[in-house]
Symmetry: C2
Subunit: 249 residues, 2 copies
DNA sequence: CGTACAATTGAAGCATTTCAACGCCTGTGG
DNA sequence: CCACAGGCGTTGAAATGCTTCAATTGTACG
């Protein structure tokens, strides 16, 4: 494990972190300048991952959280008796590793879907820092709790929905995420294969493709490879929040 | 909010909590006697909820965690555009409210499926206490992180599985939970209606019933109303860990 | 004993998977 | 330059599994 503190990167680190447009998402609001400086010391200079490069492998000991600055990463978990399952997807502003704290190991293999940059946050140092900055820990705890609820709710909703509703839900979630980061919410590139999407939603690649084609015929969106353009978000939202099935009275 | 500390219940509280067989699950291991005493002060005397009684309603401000001592509770979340969704299920030893910390509100209405007893843990006092006992907070954080991963994984697995595999998975999870608490793992009462189970797994009540009947015909288990007896756990496990579909190549 | 709710069963329709075939693009090696 | 392989996406047809709807039986509780 590399040494931390003010090393050769010391001069630029604070500047980078402060200028990072994700700052508000990674760290709690309302830290004093002193506190901010302390946190900055922890954050390593951004890591760059090329497409298909691996950040961590399943079962590797957990040691760091990572904040996504740019790009898109996926987590694949191998479960016995089945092939790999795409269990998580991270876009800019997300924090990787929250699901590894309890286990002490990374619960899946994380790799970049396209060139990505990340901030590394060694967890033991982060923990030590929270002794002096309780807000920091509370912030993380809240994020995790919130993510837990959102994920629980969305997955339970998806369980009883048709492919049509699942995909609409998924695309809108991605769209909302991009929007929050300042990107366009209606026009974006999602560098996942149909297979990846299917694995994430519990569908086959054929069904994903067919459903996208059906959307296009209905002028709800346009897809070209992995470029998506949402044309009628209101209608997509209606699709996403219905089960997709004919009402049962 | 009721006052805490050594009140009329002061004399019995510590004794109750120490004798609770769930203690190892609620509190971190290795606390000193002093620390244990401090924690005991926080825990209210067990609350008793009758069947169908409500612990908290959706959107109510979050103020306490609850540890389940006996009984079984469910969480129903109302989402617009659909009927209620059963989003969580708690058995003895589980902690209620982890998904409310981030939101600051309870994300669903929690009610007892049968008579239940609970320990109430006011969260602000718990937070204050963690200042003196970092282990306590770390313990909670780990539990939450672990639960997050387990839930993420299991729900993603369920998404691509047949009713047969979903039910087997569910019954084994319940069985394992009872086993961990010292109850029989093969013979238990699960006081949920077919509808509840269906809502939790994203199936209809008819499918749940039919699948249970099919299990019975294959001598995998016996069901009588809400009494379950697992006869062939090994075979159920094989069912649960396969998708239930004919292999794709 | 009767009502209300829960569970079961049957039949029909629908959605998704499976399997197979094809087109497209990219990179590789001749 | 072309030929070709491999990955990815698309499309079609058949089979499977689940839902829907409706009718019936069973069970709990006044």
């Amino acid at each position: 494990m590399p040494s931390h503190g003010r090393d050769v990167h010391g001069a630029t680190k604070a500047a980078e972190c402060l200028s990072c447009y994700l700052k508000a998402l990674c760290v709690p609001q309302g830290l004093s300048p002193d506190e901010t400086a302390l946190l900055d010391d922890l954050v390593f200079p951004p890591i760059r991952l090329e497409k298909r490069e691996v950040l961590c492998v399943q079962e590797a000991p957990f040691d760091s959280l990572y904040a996504v600055r740019t790009g898109c990463l996926k987590q694949e978990t191998a479960v016995e008796g089945a092939e790999n399952l795409l269990t998580a997807l991270w876009l800019p502003g997300d924090i990787i590793g929250c699901d590894a704290i309890g286990l002490g190991r990374y619960p899946g293999t994380v790799s970049a879907l396209e060139t990505a940059t990340l901030c590394k946050l060694p967890f033991d140092q982060f923990e030590a820092l929270t002794q002096r900055m309780p807000r920091l820990r509370r912030h993380l705890q809240r994020s995790i709790s919130r993510a837990m609820h959102e994920e629980r709710l969305s997955l339970h909703q998806l369980l009883c929905r048709t492919a049509e509703a699942r995909l609409a839900y998924f695309l809108l979630a991605v769209s909302a995420c991009f929007h929050r980061r300042g990107y366009s919410s209606s026009h974006f590139r999602l560098p996942m294969s149909r297979n990846d999407i299917g694995s994430y939603l519990g569908l086959t690649q054929e069904t994903v493709g067919r459903t996208l084609a059906a959307y296009q015929n209905r002028r709800l969106l346009r897809v070209h490879g992995r470029e998506y353009q949402l044309l009628d978000i209101a209608r997509l939202e209606r699709l996403a929040s219905s089960t997709g099935r004919q009402k049962k009275l």
